[in-house]
């Protein structure tokens, strides 16, 4: 299958949802996912979507990159569809972890990165409420787990917010960090690839709703 481009994403999203709207900017993860799959991820890398809620942007990007069949998109959420409202890695070979329950991806990413594998893990700012994330952030920082990149898509959905900034919490635990506009493809690419220390790296991608 010929890989599709960024311009094909609206059509793929319409296949998923049946929604004809033209402005998909409400999808907070779409640009981050596109930049990762289009410019950053190497075949040997792993991308773990921890924030599995609302995976339409994820499925659209996977389909655009030929990692899942485009024809699967139309059955989204159906009884026999491999594509559910939370992804299942056993049903979808292109999906690297099953997610839905928050706070599971980052600890798994830490384990995978221990083998030296380059691992990118996407979490949400609301998801960071779950304490299991901080177990992973603390330990990965202390052991200097440089193979790990956490991407926090910050669309200000956490009820109690993160006073002082999300990235400060990662830095305190020994991570490097970057804070970028989650819609700016070049800035995202730079943030994902510019690593300055033998430490895990956190990219806070801010997306205003």
């Amino acid at each position: 299958m010929t890989p599709l481009g960024h311009g094909d994403l609206p059509e793929l999203l319409t296949l998923l949802t049946g929604d004809e709207k033209h402005d998909w900017s409400s999808l907070s993860t779409l640009d981050v996912l596109w930049v990762l799959y289009d410019r950053v991820l190497e075949p040997a890398d792993r991308f773990l979507l921890s924030k599995g809620h609302g995976p339409t942007a994820y499925y659209a990007v996977l389909a655009a990159k030929g990692l899942i069949p485009v024809e699967d998109l139309t059955g989204f959420g159906g009884f026999d569809s491999p594509l559910g409202h939370h992804p299942d890695r056993v049903l979808v070979p292109g999906v690297e972890i099953s997610s839905g329950s928050l706070g599971h991806g980052l600890p798994i990413a830490v384990g995978a990165a221990l083998t030296g594998r380059r691992v990118f893990c996407l979490v949400g700012d609301g998801e960071l409420d779950e304490g299991s994330n901080w177990e992973a952030v603390q330990w990965a920082g202390r052991i200097g787990l440089a193979a790990l990149t956490a991407i926090v898509v910050d669309n200000h959905s956490s009820t109690y917010h993160w006073p002082g900034g999300i990235e400060k919490r990662f830095e305190l635990e020994g991570w490097t960090s970057a804070h970028v506009d989650g819609r700016d493809h070049d800035a995202l690419e730079r943030a994902f690839t510019a690593r300055t220390a033998a430490a895990p790296h956190a990219v806070v991608a801010e997306v205003l709703r």
Binding site: R89, I108, L114
Partner: protein
């Protein structure tokens, strides 16, 4: 004789040396008993992370071994066990120490008689309850070679001798009630029934439950389960195995109660009716 726990640490250290696929994920408990090794990961007192890290290692083709005290292996990170291992379809070997009341003096927080029932509620787990360090060695070594989900429940209680053979092993083939002793309850069960017309069989692997072996070994209608964890944990399995046969079941084990006692393991065993006198009294009442 070395304890199961001592044997485990030696086997674990050897496995790290011998098998590059093996990695250990500990949460402080047991770290001091092991030589340092680059694939022995101590995540600190972070049990959710312990299971998540094991899953990530398994995702990369490793064979992770997770170890801690029973409640901190099975109960605290229960959703991680369900999702990070089960739902991801990844394997690991979870090895707990402490059993139901090894830490009797530590109170309820360190006692976990419900562990096997909780884990057995999740699909795909093999559960081993060895009754002797030699059985632990056989079961642990075999588990390392696989890629499935295995729970090994170590206990400081042990039987006088190991039982050789897998699955349900008939030790006394008599015509009376059929007593099935799990793991370290065998010693007390044998002592309780020595002079009785009672068949005694042994089981160190309660999951998957040996339906066919039970059906084959059973002569009469009476079954007595003796389990070292929550009473009735395998009652449903017996019921399923014998669904088309009239039978009676007595399920002995740890009582489901908020048990606010310290003291010794022997005192707890007695209080739950799992010492020889208690097992005998329950059995005689059941058949009278």
């Amino acid at each position: 004789m070395t304890t199961m726990r001592e044997r485990f640490y030696r086997l674990a250290a050897d496995a790290l040396e011998d098998d590059p696929r093996v990695a250990m994920v500990f949460a402080e408990i047991g770290v001091a008993e092991m030589p340092r090794h680059p694939r022995l990961f101590n995540v600190g007192i972070r049990e959710q992370l312990m299971i998540g890290v094991a899953a990530g290692l398994a995702l990369e083709g490793m064979r992770p071994v997770v170890h801690s005290y029973t409640p901190f292996v099975v109960e605290r990170p229960y959703e991680q066990i369900k999702l990070d291992l089960g739902h991801q379809d990844l394997g690991a070997v979870l090895v707990s120490t402490g059993a139901s009341y090894d830490a009797s003096h530590s109170g309820r927080t360190h006692q976990a008689p419900e562990d096997v029932a909780a884990l057995a509620a999740l699909p795909g787990w093999t559960i081993h309850v060895p009754g002797h360090p030699d059985e632990l060695e056989r079961l642990f070594t075999r588990s390392l070679a696989g890629d499935d989900r295995v729970y090994i429940r170590m206990s400081q209680e042990t039987n006088g001798a190991p039982v050789h053979g897998d699955g349900l092993v008939v030790l006394r083939d008599r015509s009376g009630p059929f007593v099935l002793a799990v793991g370290p309850t065998l010693g007390a069960t044998l002592a309780a029934t020595d002079d009785l017309d009672v068949a005694v069989a042994y089981l160190a692997t309660p999951r998957p439950f040996p339906d066919a072996a039970l059906r084959e070994a059973l002569r009469g209608p009476d079954v007595v389960l003796v389990e070292p964890y929550l009473a009735g944990t395998s009652a449903g399995e017996v019921s399923r195995a014998l669904r088309d046969r009239p039978h009676r079941l007595l399920a002995l084990g740890v009582r489901n109660a908020e048990f606010r006692h310290y003291g010794t393991p022997a005192e707890h065993r007695r209080a739950h009716g799992l010492d020889a006198a208690g097992i005998r009294a329950s059995l005689l009442e059941f058949v009278s």
